[in-house]
Amino acid sequence: MAGAPPLPQPSGLQAWLLSSEPASRWQARLGRGYLGWRAFTKNPLAVLGLAIVVLLILVAIFAPLIAPYSPVAGGDLRTERLLPPSETFWFGTDDQGRDIFSRVVYGSRVTLWVVVLVAIIATPIGVLIGTVAGYLGGWVDTVLMRITDIFLAFPRLILALAFVAALGPGIENAIIAISITSWPPYARIARAETLTVRNSDFIAAVKLQGASTPRIILGHIIPLCISSIIVRVTLDMAGIILTAAGLGFLGLGAQPPMPEWGAMVATGRNYLIDQWWVAAMPGLAIFVVSLGFNLLGDGLRDVLDPKAAK
């Protein structure tokens, strides 16, 4: 731009990060990250979402230090069953005399475990299928997209149920089942992004250098899809938590005595009228974490995808 000068310059670390002449790869990357962070923190709801997610991670890591009681050892069935929230049992006790607060705390580990594994399994599958389909086009595109359509046609919970029923109940199988049903939207997004950039000059330029198709897809196309995928995965996390909880509720996910929040809601179902805390506390945990991921996802989208921002 022919010299319209901006006003005051920052100093110190800020200046190093915002420098328009980075001296190394890392300085350049960190600088971009810093600008993204500043944009992100302008949105208080996004920061709230991030705080909730960070809290989830911290609670999961420090569960043994936070939980006052064991999550699986039952208490005295005569005196400690179904006690309401009090000073000794912050969230009350369930029908086995177990402290609900401790179970919710340890349950955060299960939730985090599910969410991270599903993201790690489903995302690469979806992104690879989508980018390959979008870039190569032709029959490869048709075949891959029809496969994607088939998986998309089933409601997630039903398909997960079918897989778990086939593979047997258990948290690992639940994770596999949810992953298998989660990748199709990522494939669609990746394909859409690929189609937009496939004919760009910069892709033509690297083709003209003799780049192979894998190099183009991995090094040039996937970096452009990452933003949309990150946003989508984050927004999906709430749904994944709910699906895992749903499977747990139906007895097909985590098996007792594992403190999975969905399963805890299921047991609380029988005591809903008089001992509401047995179901409500894990339910509240599900609600808060899902909300956190949704807010975080919205915040990321505003930063990473300026077109969708308000």
Binding site: M1, A2, S20, E21, P22, A23, S24, R25, Q27, A28, R32, S200, D201, F202, A204, A205, V206, K207, L208, Q209, G210, A211, S212, R215, G219, H220, P223, L224
Partner: protein
């Protein structure tokens, strides 16, 4: 060095069939600079894309250094022929630093000594090492185009295809880039094929040129002839007149002529 014989490029089939290039032939000697001039829809950019394999050759031949080109093009071709695109805002990957953009061709062709060559490439296009780790959005239009030129030249090709390299740039920046291209051609003994809609730019950089219209060559002429206002085809004459800019007397004459 470069021979185009009866080139024809057709896109699409059936109702959507478009003959972007109908029948174009020309010959460029090594070290020469050849221009393709025309307005939008003339097919001039398509000729360049057909040469480097981005557009299909439906009929005719393209010969580089006496050899017909293979489809798909091989690595040896890409070491001989490179291209600079029109839009400096679109020809650099938005998420790659300059360093990555320049090191990629070297990595693809297994060239060692990337560090030294990247710094040399930056020097050749008049940019210092401070530009090495910038992202495209931190560069001006002229700087991006210099990077694009550096990228094209880093493999030391013999032929450079230039697709309207200065149309998207400001006038003052255009002058700098044209001077750079001129200097590089003389220093490195490159062969240029320059596509432009601007007669003055083509006359400045090229010795010979082909005027194109609707996918066909209309007239092959020289920069010298253009400067002296000679043209055998009325279309070329029209282009020369239009390049002189708006003039109220010419407008009145044109209106009078059309009545």
């Amino acid at each position: 060095m470069l021979d185009i014989q009866n080139l024809k490029v057709v896109y699409g089939t059936g109702r959507l069939r478009v003959e972007a290039v109908k029948d174009v032939s020309f010959h460029v000697e090594a070290g020469a600079s050849y221009g393709l001039v025309g307005e939008s829809g003339s097919g001039k950019s398509t000729v360049l894309r057909a040469i480097c394999g981005l557009a299909p050759i439906s009929a005719g031949r393209v010969l580089v250094d006496g050899q017909g080109v293979k489809t798909p093009r091989d690595k040896a071709f890409y070491r001989t022929v490179q291209m600079v695109f029109q839009d400096p805002y679109a020809s650099l990957h938005p998420r790659h630093t300059v360093d990555r953009t320049l090191s990629e061709p070297l990595a693809i062709h297994g060239e060692k000594d990337a560090e030294a060559r990247i710094l040399q490439a930056l020097r050749e296009v008049g940019l210092g090492p401070s530009f090495r780790f910038r992202y495209p959005h931190q560069l001006s239009g002229g700087q991006r185009q210099r990077i694009a030129i550096a990228r094209a030249l880093i493999l030391r090709p013999k032929v450079l295809l230039l697709d309207e390299p200065t149309s998207a740039l400001d006038a003052s920046v255009q002058a700098e880039i044209l001077n750079l291209l001129d200097e590089l051609r003389r220093k490195m003994g490159l062969t240029y094929i320059l596509v432009s809609h601007d007669l003055a730019v083509v006359a400045h950089l090229c010795d010979r040129l082909l005027v194109m219209r609707h996918g066909e060559g209309v007239e092959e002429t020289t920069a010298a002839a253009l400067r002296s206002g000679q043209a055998s085809s009325s279309y070329t004459r029209e282009l020369i007149d239009a390049s002189r800019g708006f003039s109220r007397d010419a407008a009145k004459a044109a209106t009078a002529a059309s009545l």
